[in-house]
């Protein structure tokens, strides 16, 4: 199959068109199989924004997957086609070029609009009136979750002056601030099902990322900044929290649990934490 051009001894080429076509076909089929059967996939979504995000992802996968299949197939196909005398002098075609541009722009922007609508639904609404406030603090390599206690007020913190992890005050709550007396600090995020939670995200050393896959939630915690983000867990259960922003050598093990309880169980948990005295 190797031919050498007599005038140009260094040009060697074997007709690999069929082999390339079949390889691209194989790559496409295996990829589609992987995504269709998906032995590894999203954990079940259990928050108010899960359904929207999952739906948008699957819609994206269908549209872009179709373009992927078409692209790889066409690439293989043009190589298989027999050489054409007619097309050989073609230098392009503005009508074709413009049609394709408009078509692909419509697909991409339609899709972009749908995504922007979803983003505004998730991000541009204030938390519900009865939302539970929890402060999240990322530190190397531990998450802390603080509840305001019965007074509904967080105590003032100053980590540089008061942070004593070994004395049970890792966040540096001001011991002289009465608002902080009943604050509850936990290393797992305990929430009631069906109630909006307004997270107040902070970090004391470097940037961390609060990632709760089952809640379809991710937000960086940035030192010097207070970020608000809210979601509503819908289903009781225990789920994992990971750190998604590189924060140092222990990044991979900066794990925590989120426990979603029924409203009654949650009240009992709060009371038990108050009783144990913080």
């Amino acid at each position: 199959m190797i031919n050498r051009s007599p005038d140009h001894p260094t040009i060697r080429s074997s007709d690999s068109s069929l082999l390339i076509f079949l390889s691209l076909l194989l790559i496409t089929i295996v990829t589609v199989y992987l995504f269709a059967v998906h032995p590894w996939w999203f954990p079940a979504g259990v928050s108010s924004s899960s359904a929207g995000i999952d739906h948008q992802f699957v819609a994206a996968l269908r549209v872009l997957g179709a373009l992927f299949i078409a692209g790889q197939f066409l690439l293989g196909l043009v190589l298989l086609r027999s050489p054409s005398r007619k097309n050989r002098s073609s230098r392009g075609s503005w009508p074709l070029e413009i049609t394709w541009t408009v078509l692909i722009a419509c697909i991409f922007f339609w899709f972009n609009l749908a995504g922007n609508r979803l983003w505004s639904e998730i991000k541009l609404h204030l938390p519900e009136e009865d939302a539970l406030q929890v402060e999240v603090t990322g530190t190397q390599f531990q998450w802390y979750f603080r509840y305001p206690g019965n007074d509904g007020k967080f105590g003032h913190t100053n980590p540089q002056r008061f942070a004593r992890p070994e004395e049970g005050n890792p966040l540096g709550i001001d011991p002289d601030d009465p608002d902080g007396k009943d604050d509850i600090v936990s290393t797992s995020l305990v929430l009631p099902a069906g109630q909006d939670v307004d997270l107040i995200l902070r970090a004391n050393d470097v940037i961390h990322g609060l990632f709760i896959p089952a809640m379809r939630f991710k937000q960086d915690t940035v030192p010097g900044m207070t970020t608000h983000a809210h979601f509503k867990p819908l289903q009781a259960g225990s789920y994992e929290i990971a750190c998604s922003q590189l924060c140092g050598l222990g990044h991979y093990r900066m794990r925590a649990l989120i426990q979603v309880l029924t409203t009654i169980e949650f009240k009992q948990w709060l009371n038990s934490r108050h009783a144990s005295g913080s």
Binding site: H8, L79, N112, Q140, A163, D205, G209, Q219, D220
Partner: protein, 575 residues
């Protein structure tokens, strides 16, 4: 514009090492990239091994600790992005072939060019030196987010290792700016007679646009790197806020903003990915036409798309920051602009298929790698519009889904273009051809290996595996992904092994390859007018250009029956 060429060529032949000859400088950049890619590749091998066998003992290195893994990760990213993808296609091939393809006798500023290379080499050595200082290399990733990068006590490698990283990058920026000025001036002022802008090969167009991006983007990174160096060593607080406690000690900084670093970094960082891939796009357009024996389909649309990507490339950086704490309203703008940049990319893909349509193919190794480029560009590109959506980024950001995306579209497609260009221009650079059979074997292993390594990473991301995890032992759902990680490591080992086919072929062919002759691929562009390797450039016989760069396949030229199926750019206007 005429230049006194004999002087420069004389200097070139007298002094090979400290040469201002653009061909020597180009080769020096190329071999620097080759060294960098070998180190970067070995680091990726160590990382893949550590992920699935965290307790494995590596010869000479011992057991890899989590901080070692992160240092490898930082160095892998830095080497690959700066010293390979931004160096080989632009400064390597660009320096060698831009003047030749334009019909110029030299680059506009030969001494600046030489300085650029030696500063880049210094930058490379400073970067590698970080491995050998106390604490080792920086572990903050190639993005060096502050405060992790700003405070020495934030981890091993965040001391001297990070200062060296910043110094290295500052030097690299400086060299890149010098080189970019040279490319821009050469393209605008030194084109040969008759070489109008719209007669330039698409390779030259992409080198030109890339140089403009480099000038603007690297200037910003240079400032940011100096600011961060000042934060670390001179007591300023550009990027560090007040009230921090790191490793149990209060930090004496106040008033800075960690997000400011991210904005500056990504204002550089996103154009940077186009700096890495645009020359590859140009080479692919060029080679698809050469080996289909057909003109480029939609040359003007290709030029327009290249410029559009360059312009839009500067307005999309915020898509790296959707969950960073940036105002969510900014998400709409960055999402829409990012979607817009997918359109010129789609135009390019369309035109590549159009160029191939009805072609008379010559399945040479550079052609195979160019086809691989298009396939990888489609696969990696189509996850772009997905990641451009802030709502989906809530889940996918900082997971392996992103790792899969940018490795396919930037790293793999970029490397395929570098391979294509190497196999293609090797005969011109060394006067000998590379071995065809070994090249074909190398292509197949690399194509299937690249897909086997990076396609499954999408599923890791969908399952929620965050990137930059040195071990799978943290979260339980991550531990459950071990089988897929094992497969990926296996695929990576095979792919990396196959690269020795290339190395063997490269060095064997340099000395033992078949002599190539002047124009072995039967191309139209001006570099193929010269002997292989070109001894003295065009000298005083500067070519006069009469034709476009992609005159392939016609049965007749200017009404005369053609002997060959191509027409050199400087062939007489009316034969």
């Amino acid at each position: 514009m005429q230049r006194p060429t004999p002087i420069t060529t004389e200097i070139a032949s007298r002094r090979r090492l400290f040469s201002t000859d653009h061909k020597v400088v180009g080769l020096q950049y190329f071999f620097l990239s080759l060294a960098a890619v070998l180190v970067g590749m070995m680091l990726s091998l160590l990382m893949r091994i550590h992920i699935i066998w965290p307790k494995a003992t590596i010869p000479l290195l011992g057991e890899i600790k989590p901080e070692n893994y992160l240092a490898y990760l930082t160095m892998h990213g830095t080497l690959m992005i700066f010293f390979v993808l931004s160096t080989a296609p632009q400064n390597g091939f660009g320096n060698y072939f831009l003047p030749l393809q334009l019909g110029a006798s030299e680059m506009a500023f030969p001494r600046l060019n030489m300085a650029g290379f030696w500063i880049t080499l210094l930058s490379f050595l400073v970067l590698l030196a970080a491995f050998f200082v106390p604490g080792g290399a920086s572990l903050a990733g190639w993005t060096q987010y502050s405060p992790l990068s700003a405070i020495a006590s934030a981890g091993p490698g965040q001391g001297l290792g990070t200062d060296l990283w910043l110094l290295s990058i500052a030097l690299f920026c400086l060299a890149s700016i010098l080189s970019a000025i040279n490319f821009i001036t050469t393209t605008l002022k030194l084109r040969g007679r008759g070489m109008t802008l719209m007669r330039m090969p698409l390779t030259c167009w992409t080198w030109f646009v890339t140089a403009i991006l480099t000038l603007l983007a690297f200037s910003v990174l240079l400032s940011a790197a100096i600011m961060l160096l000042l934060d670390r060593n001179a007591g300023t607080s550009f990027f560090v806020p007040s009230g921090l406690v790191v490793s149990g000690s209060p930090v004496e900084h106040a008033g800075g903003s960690p997000l400011l670093w991210q904005h500056l970094f990504w204002f550089f960082g996103h154009p940077e990915v186009y700096i890495a891939i645009l020359p590859g796009m140009g080479m692919t357009s060029h080679l698809l036409s050469v080996f289909s024996r057909k003109p480029v389909f939609g040359y003007k649309a290709m030029v327009g798309a290249t410029i559009a990507i360059g312009v839009l490339g500067f307005s999309v950086w915020g898509h790296h920051m959707f969950v960073s704490g940036m105002n969510p309203y900014a998400g709409f703008a960055f999402s829409t602009l990012t979607t817009a940049i997918a359109v010129p990319s789609a135009i390019k893909t369309f035109n590549w298929l159009g160029t191939l349509w009805g072609g008379h193919f010559r399945f040479t190794v550079p052609f195979l790698f160019s086809i691989g480029f298009v396939s990888l560009f489609i696969s990696g590109g189509l996850t772009g519009p997905m990641l451009a959506q802030p709502a989906l980024d809530i889940y996918l950001h900082d997971t392996y889904f992103v790792v899969a995306h940018f490795h396919l579209i930037m790293a793999m497609a970029g490397v395929f273009a570098i391979f294509a260009a190497t196999y293609f221009w090797f005969p011109k650079m060394f006067g000998r051809a590379m071995n065809h059979r070994l090249g074909v074997l190398h292509f197949w292993f690399t194509l299937l290996g690249a897909y086997s390594t990076f396609m499954p990473m999408h599923l890791l991301g969908i399952a929620g595996n965050p990137r930059r995890y040195s071990e799978l032992t943290g979260a339980q759902y991550v531990a459950a992904l071990a089988p897929l990680h094992k497969f990926i490591t296996l695929a990576a080992i095979i792919t990396i092994g196959a690269q020795f086919l290339f190395l063997a072929n490269f060095f064997w062919s340099m000395f033992k390859g078949a002599p190539a002759g002047e124009n072995p691929w039967q191309c139209t562009t001006l570099e193929w007018r010269l002997s292989s390797p070109p001894q003295h450039g065009f000298g005083n016989n500067l070519p006069v250009v009469h034709h476009g760069p992609y005159e392939y396949g016609s049965a007749e030229w200017n009404g005369t029956a053609a002997q060959e199926d191509f027409l050199m750019q400087d062939a007489p206007a009316n034969p």
